[in-house]
Amino acid sequence: MSRSDEKEDKVIRWLEDSISAQELESLKSDNDFDTYDKIISEVDAWELPDLDVAVSYDSLKQKLPHAKVVKWYQSTSLKIAASFTLIALLVSYIILWDTDQEFRTGIAETKEFILPDSSKVVLRPQSSIKFDEDTWTTERSIELQGRAFFDVNKGVPFTVSFDKGSVKVIGTSFEVTSITNLKEVVCYSGRVRAMLSGFAQELTKGQGLVAINETAPKSINTTNNWAKNKVYFRQAPLSVVLRSLELHFDITIKPQEVNTNRTFTGAFVIDNVDEALDMVLETMDIDYEKINETVTLR
């Protein structure tokens, strides 16, 4: 440590009030200390005019819009039930584990979260993210299961780890899919460093890495933009796409004799089950019959 670093270190600890008596003595012998002390004791006595919270809140209230429009894809009762479960889960996590935060989504539930640094996560159904709030300021590290889109604010390194891989962010937005038989990372803006089954690659806008079943990862390219109400697949096994449909709409799909190892490239919407089924099955030239919540393929 150089002399000036040492001095900085002492000054910081003096400002934080965590300096030892011995170090304080040595800092006091510094030529600048008296001036520092004079400045700090002056400024520490300053304050701003108080804010009349009641009055200023009333004036804020006049500016608030009355109706709020937030679109949700699920029914109100389901939403309330799901939100309630989530809050209950959240509260119990806060109580039991203190700084480890975990958020999950259930079947037929897509949710958007704002992280402590205001970065955004959109979590698809049956997915979860976990992070430690305590270390968040030095290292933004998230564990993911399932599928999620991230829009990351600038700051300290942001890492998403998942089964068989991880993504380290250089500042950007990207989507990670970590479900049975499909691991995929797609970068939608900026740059990320992705690790998948021991294979590392830097991805820029429109580039991705996909591993299907247990095969080695392949590079993919896309011109699609990420969309909240659409889920994209690139050369994904039909079985994975069908499973994803089941999770998004809480339905059961019976493939019967249809070969589900064929691959699908395309998307389905998440706000309309019939449209979604058509988008996948018509493309694949598969007939189907839907009775209540069960879809039988032919």
Partner: protein
């Protein structure tokens, strides 16, 4: 969802908790109390519009990040002029008029020197000294590392020191 921000009771509680600090934070940026209060209200309006998305423990970070963005979007940044009140009584009764003047002069000099600091250094310095916010929390608000915050406040303090010393030397 009893702790949802969309419930006015909870939203108001957030206001009571964060409004003053947020206004002060904006004042340190723009040096204008009325403008700071307006921007603070704008940030709370955004919070209301996003009440479903912002988790209860992300409220503060959401407000500060939003306020920061709103400040950067304000069209004109005028020259910053700071003006503080003092919360201590004069130290002793035998203050001479001369010492009172000298003290006021010192305060004015320091206010001007702080106003002349780069905005992020000024912010760190005043958030720490006046709002009594820890370096860890400031790092979170500014989205930088704690060691970057240490560097900023140390630089700020040294610039203030030079300007105060200049004043003293001129006296001699």
């Amino acid at each position: 969802m009893e702790n949802s921000l969309c419930e006015e009771k909870n939203y108001r509680a957030s206001y009571e908790e964060h409004a003053k600090r947020l206004r002060n934070f904006l004042y340190y940026k723009c040096g204008n109390l009325a403008q700071a209060e307006d921007l603070m209200h704008d940030a709370f309006i955004r919070l209301w519009k996003n009440c479903k998305k912002v988790l209860p423990n992300s409220v503060r970070s959401f407000l500060f990040t939003t306020a920061n963005r709103l400040f950067l979007n304000t069209v004109e940044h005028e020259k910053v002029v700071l003006n503080f009140e003092k919360n201590t009584l004069p130290k002793n009764e035998n203050n001479t008029p001369e010492s009172v003047i000298r003290e006021q002069e010192f305060k004015k000099r320091l206010e001007d020197a702080i106003a002349a600091l780069p905005v992020s250094q000024r912010e760190v310095f005043l958030l720490n000294r006046i709002e009594k916010i820890s370096f860890d929390e400031i790092a979170e608000i500014q989205g930088v590392s704690v060691s970057a915050v240490h560097k900023k406040i140390y630089k700020a303090l040294n610039k203030l020191k030079s300007s105060v010393k200049e004043l003293q030397e001129r006296k001699i």
